[in-house]
Amino acid sequence: MIDDTAPAGAATLEPWEVFRQEKEGDPMRHGGSVLAPDAELAVHYARELFGRRQESVRLWVVRRSDVHDLADQDLLQPPLDRSFKKPGGYLMRDKLAAARAVSGQAKPRARSG
């Protein structure tokens, strides 16, 4: 896709990340990427690759170089025990069961969809 022999003056292609929303109210999810020389054509190509079959109601197109990347494992996956930062560190289950017994309410069913 990237032509190294492109004539002088030709715009260079760069990657753009495409996020798509499947239906109103859904979160934007990463769909993939396209190569394009500028924002206008990037939006065109995003539309063709992620929207032409009516599979999206909205697209966000972001220049990849504008994305601030964080993949430092020291920051994201610290080596020490951090289990006390997780809600699992608090044993809520028994307390909730006791509260339900007092109020007479049944345990709510898992939400569908």
Binding site: M1, P7, A8, G9, A10, L35, P37, H44, Y45, E48
Partner: protein
Amino acid sequence: MTTTQATHALVADRLTRDALAELLLALADDEFVIGFSDSEWTGIAPLLEEDVAMSSLAQDELGHAAALYGLLGELIDRDPDAIAYDREPDAYRHCRLLDHGRGDWAMTIARRYLYDTADAVRLEALVGGSWAPLAELVGKIVREERYHVMHAGAWLERLASVEGEPRDRLLAAWDALGPDAGTVFSPLVGETTLQGAGIVAATSGELEDRWRARIAPTLVRLRLPILPPTARPERGRLEHGEAFRSLWGGFTSVRRSDPGATW
């Protein structure tokens, strides 16, 4: 069958029906020919993304052609596939602009820009028409064609703005297409009948003027030559040349290989 009867009933008058058939054939043939011709870029467009885009545009046009041939088929009680494929090259009614093959990328973009902008003006005059089946279909087609004009405009701008090979190739294509660009508006047999019946809102001449006025600011901004007057407008949808004969040979070859076969 209900649709067929309803369609006939709406156009009981023979003159109007013939004129409407001419219009539908011209519209359908235009979409069919540019769609088929642009589909030749599949696999060889300048970049993968553009390959998908151009192929998708070509498919849109073939979809519009199929719907228009469908309407015509109901109107004259004929199989839409037979209308699309079983005619001799000279019986096609697409405009001469589309007899220019896809050429290089600049030629394809110039042809698309001229055709899409003209088509938009033509469709606007049909969208509020009195024959509901066509007015409804055009209402849907217009929504897809909006993107086609955006796409062609974006590329025209890029080719025109980069000095050297891109602009030179575009200017060569522009010169070749110029005298034929206005043939999208070549007068149709019976167009006064259609206007009288409220099926089209303006004459071909009025639409052509409107189109030239609409694209003029873009041409000035991009320093593209103003288009010359249309050459032989009365023959604009007749006498297709050798390039079309070859295209026709391609798109009818499978159908002709086994006439009457069910696919």
